[in-house]
């Protein structure tokens, strides 16, 4: 099959059109590249938090009775003893993302070494029945730099002519950090039953620089640069119960509300370049929106103190109706095309399974497994159509729905009053990288090593 002819310059305008369109395309490219094994709009448990919980794959809804229960199930606080400080401070990790496609689709190895603090939690008992908790946790973090290049891209122009782009490239630097601060209250209403409530303030700080560029006839035909910084603070609540019907057998259940935005700031600029118009378009952003769905978790656990434990959780995240991630107007005063920053989340069910065995009553050995399924919905026809110059295919995997799986392992010392833990968390999955009409396997992996400890005062 002969290669399609290059597009005559006289026919460029229908394709490399107005700057407004490129603004939209740039925003779409920026937002549509899904995250790696960690921070992602569509994944809810990228890695596990807490010393014991991380080792047991996050199966902690029924089992938890420590300060990190503020995060998993506040009712578990009422089964903790006295005042305890738990810190999972040093988390060191290696995140890897590769695209190994044909010579026409390539990327550099974007492996990153991560170091970040993860968890700090405190619980305190007042009287026999009342417990308070406080937690600062980082449930998701992503610092990513990546580029994709597709070459010799055949396409059909708006006027029906066959043409070939020399290349299309996408470069990104994305820093996405979440920090949740929460307080809890729990009450032991019966020797075998407790309930608790938590109030969380999730903070998400994002700094994103993205550049897309298409070359044609050895010159840039169109290019868009998106620079975005945003801060989003919201509020959500959680209620939980924990029941021990017989000694050692625990059931737990929680319900977490959707979040409600209480603060949002954003600033950004979009610069465009094409054959007909060159210039900068400062996008007037009024804010950003990150919507978390409701979540219901159910857990069951059986534990023999300082001998062994087994636990399993199932959690359901609700669906989120389509909403616009970016709020503001574009360079000509029009609202930012809703379809291009559209986020839509399907409901998703995840499971966590963990086990723990004690050596000599002082050294716990833990292992776990968890799923991290994607909630990404199918993009609308309009979003796909606008994905890039009307070409078939999508940018950066807009149709990408990677499901991920995680395994954990942990060990440490537990003297009753003092604990030390060393945990490993490995997440893996594979999806398809897509850039214009090119696709290639995109394996992702994340290995985290967490160092933790707690102390009972």
């Amino acid at each position: 099959m002969s290669a399609p002819a290059r597009l005559p310059s006289a026919q460029r305008s229908p394709i490399f059109g107005a700057a407004v369109r490129l603004v939209l395309v740039g925003v779409a490219a920026t937002l549509s590249w899904p995250g790696r094994a960690q921070a992602s709009e569509y994944h809810y448990q990228s890695f596990m938090l807490g010393e014991r919980a991380m080792g047991m794959g996050g199966a902690y809804t029924a089992l938890g009775a420590s300060p990190i229960s503020t995060w998993y199930n506040p009712a578990g606080l009422a089964f903790s003893t006295g005042t305890r400080l738990s810190v999972q401070t040093g988390v060191y990790g290696l995140a890897s993302e590769r695209v190994t496609g044909s010579p026409d689709l390539l990327t550099s190895d974007s492996s990153q070494f991560l170091t970040f603090p993860s968890t700090g939690a405190l619980s305190r008992r007042f009287g026999d029945k009342h417990f308070f908790g406080f937690a600062v946790v980082t449930p998701d973090v992503d610092h990513r730099s990546a580029h994709l290049v597709a070459r010799n891209i055949p396409f059909t122009a708006a006027n029906g002519a066959a043409a070939t782009l020399d290349s299309f490239s996408l470069l990104q630097d994305d820093r996405d950090t979440t920090l949740w601060t929460g307080v809890s209250y729990a009450m032991r209403v019966h020797r075998r039953f407790s309930f608790g409530v938590s109030l969380f303030f999730p903070l998400r700080d994002r700094s994103l620089l993205s550049k897309t560029q298409a070359t044609f006839n050895d010159q840039v035909a169109a290019s868009t640069q998106v620079d975005l910084s945003s801060l989003h603070v919201s509020l959500l609540g959680m209620v939980g119960v924990r029941w021990e019907p017989i000694d050692g057998l625990f059931f737990g259940a929680t319900f977490r509300t959707p979040n409600a935005r209480i603060l949002s700031t954003a600033k950004g600029s979009v610069s465009t370049f094409d054959a007909d118009m060159s210039g900068r378009a400062d996008v007037n952003l009024s804010g950003v929106q990150y919507k978390l769905p409701w979540r219901a978790s159910f857990g069951v656990a059986y534990a023999q103190a300082r001998r062994f434990s087994v636990a399993a959780d199932i959690s359901v995240h609700g669906a989120v109706d389509p909403y616009t991630f970016l709020e503001g107007t574009d360079n000509v005063g029009m609202p930012i095309e809703p379809e291009l920053s559209l986020v839509q989340k399907d409901s998703v069910v995840n499971t966590n399974i963990g086990a723990e065995y004690w050596l000599g009553g002082i050294v716990p050995v833990r292992a776990g497994f968890f799923t991290n399924f994607s909630a990404r919905g199918t993009p609308s026809a309009r979003a796909r159509e606008l994905s890039l110059f009307g070409l078939s295919g999508v940018i950066g995997g807009q149709g990408d729905v990677p499901n991920r799986y995680g395994v954990t392992f942990g060990t440490g010392f537990d003297t009753g009053r003092t604990t030390l833990g060393l945990n490993f968390n490995y997440v893996f999955g594979e999806s398809q990288a897509e850039l214009v009409t090119r696709t290639a396997p995109r394996p992702v992996s994340l290995l985290l090593i967490g160092v933790s400890g707690s102390y009972a005062f």
């Binding site: 401070t89 820093r175 060159s278 003297t415 102390y455």
Partner: protein
């Protein structure tokens, strides 16, 4: 008249010059003491060579870990410099024609700064082995610059192109981080003397993404160009450290440690450049040579320690000079050098640290400190797009809660400095002038840490 696009050598030169200037504003290459690493040391301004008695103490003096507090055989310390705010201002850093703009960056980052584990053994002389992971440097920046309505007369530098009104917009992200992994062995052959040695693996990673657009109306019509640069590098090196700690009297301590220059054992990088002409160029590790050496370090410390009452400590740290080197060289398979980054050299630097600790009660300790972080960059005549020259001064404060088996510390380090940076006026005109402009940096690092004695 329909717009016309012209991309010529002059435009590319202007764009590439602007592309490099801003994101390379990080200070990491020439400073050694951005904040004090460690839980106790972090509150004492890093005056810890004569003490080094915590699980991350090997960072200061490997001989000190035999004195790490423990109930049984082991001590473990965790310290998180969790939240760092950094502020940078370079006067007239971005310039084009008759317009210039200061470069001002505020950035926030989180990272785990230190982890240490010490285990002791032996019934005669005390022996100890330790593992440390420290992050002595973390420099993150994100920013953008915009120049509008620039007038640039035709000159040889612009190949005769006269800008009547030009706009430059640039955004960048940069990260420079150093991570030290250390294995330490220490022994106390005499009750008053301990010696130790560390093997250090130093990992430095850097990341830059910079993108710009330059557009304008010129004597040849409307013109525009764009440039993008993405670079990532990883540099691994080995170093050794020897230390001695002497408990001269009941309260007087001396410490000396020598850390060798780093020897590179691996490097890798990728560079992506896309201009307005042609297809993007990708350079991989086989074509890139990354070099990020660290010099010899000699630390000498003295401390007066009255257990459970107060401690005073003082350190001098000398960092040797380094011969000029190029941090990045790009070659093609034929061996042709296509890019060589501007050479960097470092002069001798002596930093001081002064710290104190006061036990307000059995369980409460207050710590304070002062430290310097002088730049290793030699003062020189201003060179276009040359590096900054800022000497930093730091203050440390911490509050610690101590029990027999645990410690918990909250602290803050604040480093600040004024200096100069090459600024430029009337860039790309016949009146181009490079001068010493003012520059300032501030770092505020909040940290919390804890240790556990096993």
């Amino acid at each position: 008249m329909s717009p016309t696009r012209i991309v010529n050598i002059a435009m590319v030169a202007v764009a590439v010059a602007a592309l490099w200037a801003a994101p390379r504003a990080h200070a990491g290459e020439s400073h050694y003491h951005r904040y004090a690493v460690g839980e106790r040391a972090g509150g004492m301004g890093g005056a810890f060579t004569a003490l080094a008695d915590e699980s991350t103490g090997a960072f200061y003096n490997p001989a000190g870990i035999v004195d790490a507090p423990r109930r049984g055989r082991a001590a473990m310390g965790l310290t998180v410099s969790a939240y760092q705010l950094s502020f940078l201002r370079h006067e007239s850093r971005v310039s084009l024609g008759d317009k210039a703009q200061d470069l001002s960056i505020t950035d926030f980052s989180t990272f785990a700064s230190a982890f240490g584990y010490v285990h002791t053994f032996g019934k005669g002389p005390k022996h100890a082995v330790g593992l440390t992971i420290t992050v002595p440097e973390n420099d993150s920046s994100a920013g953008s610059v915009n120049l509008s309505g620039v007038r640039l007369p035709a000159s040889s530098a612009t190949d005769g192109l006269e800008f009547r009104s030009a706009d430059l917009t640039q955004s960048f992200r940069a990260l420079s981080q150093a991570i030290l992994f250390g294995l330490t062995y220490a022994v106390a052959p005499h009750p008053r003397i301990s010696v130790g040695a560390s093997l250090l693996y130093a990992l430095r990673r850097e990341r830059v993404l910079s993108s710009l657009f330059l557009t304008g109306d010129t004597n040849r019509g409307r013109v525009a160009t764009t440039e993008t640069l993405e670079a990532q590098s990883l540099h691994g090196a080995l170093a050794g450290e020897l230390g001695v700690k002497v408990r001269a009297t009941e309260h007087l301590r001396f410490g000396v440690s020598v850390r060798s220059p780093q020897g590179r054992i691996h490097n890798g990088a990728s560079v992506f450049r896309a201009g307005a002409e042609g297809s993007p160029a990708v350079f991989n590790s086989s074509e890139l040579d990354v070099y990020a050496p660290e010099p010899l370090r000699l630390a000498v410390g003295v401390a007066w320690e009255v257990p459970k009452r107060y401690t005073l400590a003082f350190d001098l740290k000398w960092f040797a000079s380094l011969e000029p080197y190029s941090p990045l060289i790009v070659t093609r398979p034929a061996g042709t050098t296509v890019f060589r980054a501007t050479e960097v050299s470092r002069r001798n630097v002596v930093n001081v640290s002064l710290g104190g600790e006061w036990r307000a009660s059995e369980q409460i300790a207050l710590r304070g400190g002062f430290f310097t972080d002088f730049t290793g960059r030699p003062p020189a005549a201003p060179v276009l797009d040359g590096p900054e020259h800022i000497n930093l001064y730091g203050l440390a404060f911490a509050l610690a809660w101590l029990t027999n088996e645990t410690t918990l510390t909250f602290g803050v380090n604040w480093a600040f400095g004024l200096g100069d940076v090459p600024g430029v006026r009337n860039r790309f005109t016949d009146q181009q002038e490079v001068f010493n402009a003012s520059a300032s940096r501030h770092f505020v690092t909040f940290f919390f840490g804890g240790s556990y004695s096993l």
